[in-house]
Amino acid sequence: MNTNTVKITTNHLNLYYGTNHALKDVSLNLFTNKITAFIGPSGCGKSTYLKTLNRMNDLVPSVKIEGEVLLDEENIYDPRVDTTLLRKKIGMVFQQPNPFPMSIYDNVAYGPRIHGIKNKSELDDIVERSLKGAALWDEVSDRLKKSALGLSGGQQQRLCIARALAVEPEVLLMDEPTSALDPISTLKIEDLMDELKEKYTVAIVTHNMQQATRIADNTAFFLVGEVVEYAPTTELFTAPKDKRTEDYITGRFG
């Protein structure tokens, strides 16, 4: 396992959507400054797992969660937890680039403003820093006041990453962040993720196995709600221990 210190631990996590047992006894560690990839066939619970990490699943009415998720050793499902703070610490980027229909600047400043930063020059600073962090500054610095919807798909996705960075998270969750993008934009985002892991702990769901091999330090393979195998990426993709993993990654499994 490509380890470091543990950032997030899930212990015996079970999740039910009504009667649908969507996550089955998932125990995993995410490591600081590593990229962890989640792969698996459609509907196997990858997104669900990702969402349990910043409690976005709270919004689903029928959901029931058992087990614990520790962030820096604090249980995020403790009733005392302020989900606002939690989500500030654990940012999320989605499959479809989803910038708000506002200017580029306002998109990035959205988070900081929510968290009470009003000062103009401070905001300017954050916006610039975040856009640079998302490798987008050079492309948009001269049109910060233009609508974010005018950006290309790849730029929009990087904007969403910048927006997540602006609240200074510690963990970045990404649910298939490049599946809506063309190959060139995808490569750009992959390069970016590699840079991001210097500062953040990154978890990414991807359908593109090559992508997992390219960027992830560790990879977990999910199958109908279970973690079949969790190993350093190279190991998982070269010498998987489980037959099902091998079948899946070699495309022999549907």
Binding site: M56, I114, K146, S147
Partner: protein, 312 residues
């Protein structure tokens, strides 16, 4: 190479008769709306402009005395115009915030079960004839207003008592009447805001309320503006409901004055008028028409601009 089964050269090589007929018919249908608007505009101008010149543009538009049937008739409609503007504006000012907030409630806050009960009710109310609102205005609002009027103007010698048929009543009826429209359209605009924007906002650590006001409402802006446009249209164009509750006298649009709107001016006198009086009523129609066009065009441009700035 496999033997050629058939050539792509068709016998006629051009479209069939049915195709052509279909295209022609649809084109004619398409231009029907243009024809209709053109002829309405034409008729309004033909019927409305003569009086404008006979009486004098300034005298009509900026005159304050409306005595169409007098021996020396006077056709000033300034108060009528002002009433329409102020009355509509007030109705919008009252109706829109309440309507939008209600829409927010229904789309974002309310439990689904409550929404499922309230939304059909709102839809129903959007569909009921406006005269019913007028009916309620007369029966409930006017007596109430009169009581207030009596209190406020007790002992006043200058105030002409209206029996509650005043600007406020009309504004309230209008505000109430546009409520379902505003709620319906705003709500669907809010529902049309993609879920992922909400997720995005929540994932940045925004609370639900922050999400609604900082992300969802701005994203639904154009839909809400549409709601306002349609609401404004309905308010300014409404005639029957308020002709009975506003008192229908031509007066300065002060809260407790009995007032006449552009629409009510036409409705109430059209039947009885003749000659120049009638022509002036058409002029009022023309003014109303111009107003509507103006509002439509400016709001449309505003909307389009808003959209464009997002598109590129």
């Amino acid at each position: 190479m496999r033997p050629k089964s058939y050539s792509i050269f068709g016998g006629h090589g051009s479209k069939s008769g049915v195709e052509h007929a279909a295209e022609v018919i649809f084109t004619v249908c398409g231009f029907f709306a243009v024809l209709a608007v053109a002829s309405i505009t034409l008729y309004m101008i033909i019927s409305g402009t003569p009086a404008l010149f006979k009486v004098g543009i300034l005298d009509i538009l900026f005159g304050t005395i409306w005595m169409p049937a007098a021996a020396t008739p006077s056709f000033g409609i300034l108060y009528v115009i002002l009433t329409s503007i102020i009355g509509t504006a007030l109705a919008i000012l009252i109706g829109v915030p309440i309507g939008v907030m209600t829409a927010v409630f229904l789309a974002e806050v309310a439990p689904e079960r409550l929404t499922n009960i309230v939304r059909p009710a709102v839809e129903l109310l959007a569909g009921i004839p406006s005269v019913i609102y007028g009916l309620l205005g007369i029966l409930i609002l006017n007596p109430l207003m009169y009581k207030i009027e009596l209190k406020i103007f007790a002992g006043s010698t200058t105030h002409q008592f209206t029996g509650g048929a005043n600007l406020i009543s009309a504004v309230l009826v209008l505000a109430l009447m546009i409520l379902p429209t505003v709620i319906n359209i705003s709500e669907s605009a809010l529902r049309a805001v993609p879920q992922h924007l909400r997720s995005a906002s929540l994932a940045l650590g925004a609370t639900k309320i922050q999400t609604i006001f900082s992300a969802v409402l701005p994203a639904a802006k154009s839909g809400i503006i549409t709601a306002i446009v349609l609401g404004t249209g309905r308010a300014i164009g409404e005639a029957m409901a308020i002709s009975l509750v506003s008192g229908s006298s031509v007066n300065m649009p002060l809260p407790f004055n009995s007032v006449r709107f552009l629409t009510t001016a036409i409705v109430s006198e059209m039947s009885y008028s003749a000659g120049l009086h009638k022509q002036v009523l058409f002029t009022i129609g023309l003014v109303l028409f111009a107003f509507i066009m103006l509002i439509n065009i400016t709001l449309n441009n505003l909307l389009k601009k808003g959209e464009e700035s997002h598109d590129k």
